[in-house]
Symmetry: C2
Subunit: 242 residues, 2 copies
Amino acid sequence: MATKTAYPFRVEPQEVDFSLRITLVALGGNILNIAGIDAHTKGFGVDALNKDNFSWVLSRIAFEFDYRPEEYVKYEIATWISDYGRMLSTRNFELTDQTGVCFGRVVSQWCMLDLSKRTAVDLRAVAESHNDAIVECPSPAEKPRKVPAPDAEPVLTHKVAYSDIDFNRHVNTMRYIEMMLDVLPIERFAEERPLRLDINFLKEARYGQTLSVALEERGSQTLVEIRSDAGAALCRGAFEWR
Amino acid sequence: MATKTAYPFRVEPQEVDFSLRITLVALGGNILNIAGIDAHTKGFGVDALNKDNFSWVLSRIAFEFDYRPEEYVKYEIATWISDYGRMLSTRNFELTDQTGVCFGRVVSQWCMLDLSKRTAVDLRAVAESHNDAIVECPSPAEKPRKVPAPDAEPVLTHKVAYSDIDFNRHVNTMRYIEMMLDVLPIERFAEERPLRLDINFLKEARYGQTLSVALEERGSQTLVEIRSDAGAALCRGAFEWR
């Protein structure tokens, strides 16, 4: 039976913002890196999949952080796969402080892409290695929600440059999140309030495209959307401070 | 007698660009993090200086890379202080591959800032801890050169946002380098040629400013300058592919 795998971390000086707490982008980056390492260790990482010209693609993710830890504080990220269907595999994360208190819960949903056909792979095709990795422990938070489109004009534009793209020449996930954070009022990062953030990745952005970012306050949520030149939605996020 | 201190690294998947080699920004980030850790270990890190309201500020840096290592390759960064004068302390770095071949050489010059007076501190004031840290080994490359101003109009503008700034609310060093890389032709990153990059940090950029970036090809060099709203030079870089 598989069990959760935990990785130790410490908040490094280069990871903090002006509030001297770790940024959401640094936390998110560490979480996604752990996903890659854990999948690699268990034999279904991007490197193994690439032999078949398959790759994992992040479809949706939900983050819940009760607070962001301060500089030099140690914490742990545990990860496990709880279930998978025909199209989506669910990978979970729990962030725990040194006293054992859980301060962060993350649920991510991934599909497997056939890079040559550009279509999703039926996950039953990879059931063997995947079944062994399933941990009988439910997701620590509600699964990522569908994020509605903000009804608003863009407030920021950005032309995709070399530093924004990954090995695939697509805008990397953390850069999407940075663009979303950059349209929020900066005071949001000075306060310490529990946050739930749902993100839907809809379409990839490529080098040279000019992206725009729109946001709308709707009820208790701030909805953010990154759009392509043509106005198509590429990525949506819903921030809910509690 | 102090000796060089070496830190082990491996090129992580999230650090590579589309050429599947580590980016200059990831290398530069690791180098600066090592500087922080090494200074901290030896008792004159930013955390110790902050008690006197002093801080280290990077003034100039020169990078020489023969190549950029590929994904999953292990390497080592060694660092040492070779000398200091009244105003500047010289910290050096050598990057070595697994066979012991040096593929990168970095020379950085730092001044110490009194944060309350916003003036440079005479380094003789901190001679005691510093003297013990000096390693009798010269810099592995020519010291950072003064970079001339490009004679050109800006090709890129960027409004400084939350994700660009550090704990000090100034644009962080690696973001400056990203902005410089983003105005170069992207093909430069597909080829594998030895590079020397000299950077001069002149003035800090703050949240909300609109920066512009200009570049000029001059002889064997590409000169890049980041300017403030008011047109003042904030940071200059000279790229020389060999």
